[in-house]
């Protein structure tokens, strides 16, 4: 009887796993032969994608936008990687894989430059997160809230959630830190006094106790470029030549 029960449980678990729609269908991308994709980066092919969402007036409302091909970091930049650039930044033992935080916009940009890269534009960030079909969540479906009740921000290793992968194979687009982009904050009807004061940040905070509403791929946020907070990090992008 015991082995029958075990078999039953095994079959049940198989059945449950087939019911899960958490799998994100990966887009098969053909990288042109003349392009060498650096380690740790993902090639995003040229083409249209759906930018923003009609229900969010501070986005591009779901219009189709064409982008040339580009490269983007597969993961958010880790503290260990940033330490190679800024030796004076302390890292607590065992925290090397956490995303780098407490970096101002210019510091993030400087790091990317030092690697022969740049910060992604907001459009590049969003296309890498949702793919050309305009998915709401980077990983394909809504996930239950993993950290209810804690007031602070709990970063995770940048490669921890392997199941939370975008259609192009990019991680950390809907959780962990918010990420600096190169764009100024702007929206329809924005007062002139606000222009050129803030930078767009995208991504994050899926694991905080605050609203899950921030995690859709089109959700936008903004920040003063001088801000250094524990919930802001970055990743880099690069032109394709």
């Amino acid at each position: 009887m015991r082995w029958q029960r075990f078999l039953l449980l095994l079959l049940l678990s198989f059945w449950i796993s087939t019911c899960s729609d958490n799998n994100v269908e990966q887009i098969s991308v053909q990288v042109p032969a003349h392009i060498k994709v650096p380690e740790g980066m993902v090639y995003i092919p040229e083409g249209e994608f759906i930018y923003g969402h009609a229900e969010d007036p501070k986005t591009a409302l779901g219009q189709k936008v064409f982008l040339n091909a580009y490269l983007i970091d597969r993961y958010e930049l880790s503290r260990g990687e940033y330490k190679k650039f800024r030796a004076d930044v302390p890292i607590a033992p065992g925290k090397k894989k956490l995303p780098v935080t407490l970096v101002a916009f210019e510091e993030a940009r400087e790091y990317c430059r030092s690697e022969g890269k740049r910060l992604p534009t907001e459009q590049e960030w969003e296309k890498a997160a949702r793919g050309p079909a305009g998915g709401k969540w980077p990983w394909g479906s809504y996930q239950p809230h993993p950290n209810n009740g804690f007031s602070g921000f709990l970063p995770e290793p940048v490669d921890k959630r392997q199941e939370w992968i975008s259609p192009y194979g990019v991680y950390g687009m809907g959780h962990n830190v918010w990420e600096w982009t190169s764009d100024d904050w702007d929206y329809n009807g924005m007062p002139g006094s606000e222009k050129e004061k803030y930078k767009v940040i995208r991504g994050g905070l899926y694991q905080s106790h605050l609203k899950i509403d921030f995690s859709p791929t089109w959700a936008r946020n903004f920040m003063e470029p001088s801000a250094r907070y524990n919930f802001i990090g970055f990743r880099c992008a690069k032109d394709v030549k």
Binding site: S151, G152, K197, M223, S226, Y229, I232
Partner: protein
């Protein structure tokens, strides 16, 4: 006439008069007697949690408040010249004021004009060791809090002596409190008695007794401002500014 006379006789007049006087003198349920106490078991004269309209009061450990005559501030730890201050001494520092919100981790926020001095003034006075990267605060009610020194030197952080053009009330942290507008309210320690510079970060009260982080940076999410009927408004993280709040001047992104 005889009916009216009986109505207005001395006895009925005295009855009506005495009842009216009693009604007038009877203690009313006014703001002064209710005091908006959240916990009626705590003596009313204690500093405690009160949902005062416009600006809620939060205090972890009920106590009677601080007497200026008995209060002193000790600043020490890894410093070259430890110092002690009386209440009047603190007014010798250059005073600055700002309007900023106190954003509680309970989701409400309230705005006030705060006046005090920069933390840099204390740093200049006691000259901390370069290895002292952290600061611990202790309060008159046994509360404690910790910060990275760098955070305390940010432009909008203020050691506060006055609120809305009045000396701090005991409910709001008399005689000295911290205002760090990019941190949740529980980080904005009140009734400060001791400041210690250290080379390692210590924990804080609500990390030890509640589900709150040591860091306490305000996260992006939703706020319910008391001066906007607690209607939900999105916040981008860090110091809270709503669409009706003037922001301090900040440099443009393109210079």
């Amino acid at each position: 006439m005889s009916g009216l006379r009986s109505l207005l006789n001395r006895r009925s007049f005295l009855r009506v008069f005495s009842l009216s006087a009693i009604a007038w003198l009877w203690p009313k349920k006014s703001a002064g007697t209710i005091n908006f106490q959240n916990n009626k078991n705590i003596p009313a004269n204690y500093v405690q949690n009160r949902d005062v309209p416009g600006f809620y009061i939060r205090s972890a450990n009920p106590f009677l408040g601080v007497s200026a005559q008995e209060w002193g501030l000790a600043v020490g730890g890894m410093v070259k010249t430890p110092a002690a201050f009386g209440y009047e001494d603190l007014f010798g520092f250059p005073m600055v004021s700002q309007v900023s919100r106190l954003k509680c981790v309970e989701c409400w926020s309230a705005k006030a004009k705060w006046e005090g001095f920069r933390f840099q003034e204390l740093v200049d006075r006691v000259q901390p060791d370069p290895k002292a990267k952290y600061v611990t605060f202790k309060s008159a009610d046994s509360y404690y809090e910790s910060y990275a020194l760098e955070e305390l030197l940010r432009p909008r952080v203020l050691m506060v002596l006055r609120m809305n053009d009045q000396p701090l009330s005991k409910d709001h942290g008399f005689p000295l409190r911290l205002i760090a507008p990019f941190k949740y309210g529980y980080k904005n320690v009140k009734y400060i008695t001791q400041i210690t510079f250290t080379d390692t970060r210590s924990r804080n009260y609500w990390a030890d007794y509640g589900p709150y982080s040591i860091d306490g940076t305000i996260q992006p999410g939703i706020d319910h401002p008391l001066d906007y009927e607690k209607k939900p408004l999105p916040i981008n993280g860090g110091e809270v500014f709503h669409f009706f709040d003037p922001r301090p001047a900040s440099p443009k992104t393109r210079q």
